[in-house]
Subunit: 227 residues, 2 copies
Amino acid sequence: MTSTTTTTTAREPVTRARAIQAAVALADADGIESLSMRKLARDLGVEAMSLYYHVKSKDDILDGMIESVIDEMALPAADAEWKSALGERAESARRVLGRHPWAISMVDQRTTPTTMRHLDTVIGCLRHAGFSIAMAAHAMSLLDSYVHGFALQEASLPLDESGDIGATTEDILAQQGMTAAFPHLAEMGVELILQPGYAYGNEFAFGLRVILDGLEAAFTAEARSRA
Amino acid sequence: MTSTTTTTTAREPVTRARAIQAAVALADADGIESLSMRKLARDLGVEAMSLYYHVKSKDDILDGMIESVIDEMALPAADAEWKSALGERAESARRVLGRHPWAISMVDQRTTPTTMRHLDTVIGCLRHAGFSIAMAAHAMSLLDSYVHGFALQEASLPLDESGDIGATTEDILAQQGMTAAFPHLAEMGVELILQPGYAYGNEFAFGLRVILDGLEAAFTAEARSRA
DNA sequence: ATACATACCTTACATCGTATGGTACTTTCT
DNA sequence: AGAAAGTACCATACGATGTAAGGTATGTAT
């Protein structure tokens, strides 16, 4: 049944790619803090030390995990219209980071060819649209800060197991002296967050709009002053 | 010399506050990943398990550390002019998170009375200025996302020990095939980042301006439509 | 004098990343 | 054919980690 004479379905051989893929799955399911070489090895049907044949270190795995996350993000075409291109990239990045919250505080830290390729393409799109180098840097800094920061906030919402924020919000509001001590927070909880249909994720669109419009204004002002 | 009969300068007794303060200092100096109960105890002149008399767990220490970081941030007066108040709070938060980079990905996760007090005050300032609840939520989400995201990016810059980004940028640019593979990134490195006087921190002001102006426009539009 | 609270310590356990040094099996070379 | 080298795995061990369990000294209160 398992492995006879010829190569049958014994166990997929471990590879760097398979290890990284399994590590991403483990981190998605149980959180990054519970990703250990031993657990990862077990998932791959192997002992911990065997991983080191395919991978330099745990850090190496983390690098690979970030690369795979970056690769999930939509990259705009170099000649795309800049505003919609940046908007779609931002939405895509937010969705991807929502799927892999453990990656949020790591994407900026780990510089790999994949992340550089990504950055280079976005800068290229802006330059192609006529942005100066300085304005392109402004735009990237602003937009990426917003996207990563929003993902960070969204990932730390006290959601219950069904992904709803209502129940935990009610719990917090029900605490003794809560509404007296924090009246504005309580008001926002009752009048906004607990309203049917409210989802924090919807806040993303507002900020994205503000930022893109602001960038457009700054860009056209720059173009006009150059003429 | 050390401790004779009467109480002399033997050792300050450990308290929760002193433990937290020492933990912050340790994390600032060596990074959060090297903060352990044993090292912290050593810094306090005590054994690891003695800390548990003053503190519930390591997690309890982390909560206290975040509270102390939040307390470093400037809180606007409730009746302050909203735009400058939000701007000053943002600048202050960024400075504080710059001093304690380990706190960036933790501030949103740990909800303590201190953080709620902080949030409540800022919401109060906006409501006092005439913001609707929904617009106040928009403003907070946008601004805090930006500040935290920017801090995250700033904290992960490859600075050398003197805090300069130039040397490491040069190293990266000097890598084989770098300028060919990533022309726009290389251009930005040479034409912007390596220029004398450039500091990534200065990018913060641009984004903050865009966001505050955008919020003002949205706020006045909301007020007008209500009239 | 007895009791209790306070502040510390010792030991021990499970878990972590990984250094070191194996063991099999397969491919390549002569 | 036999020898050598390469490939993929495993067992053991070390020094770290957080903390449970159960001491041991000093108080201070009765």
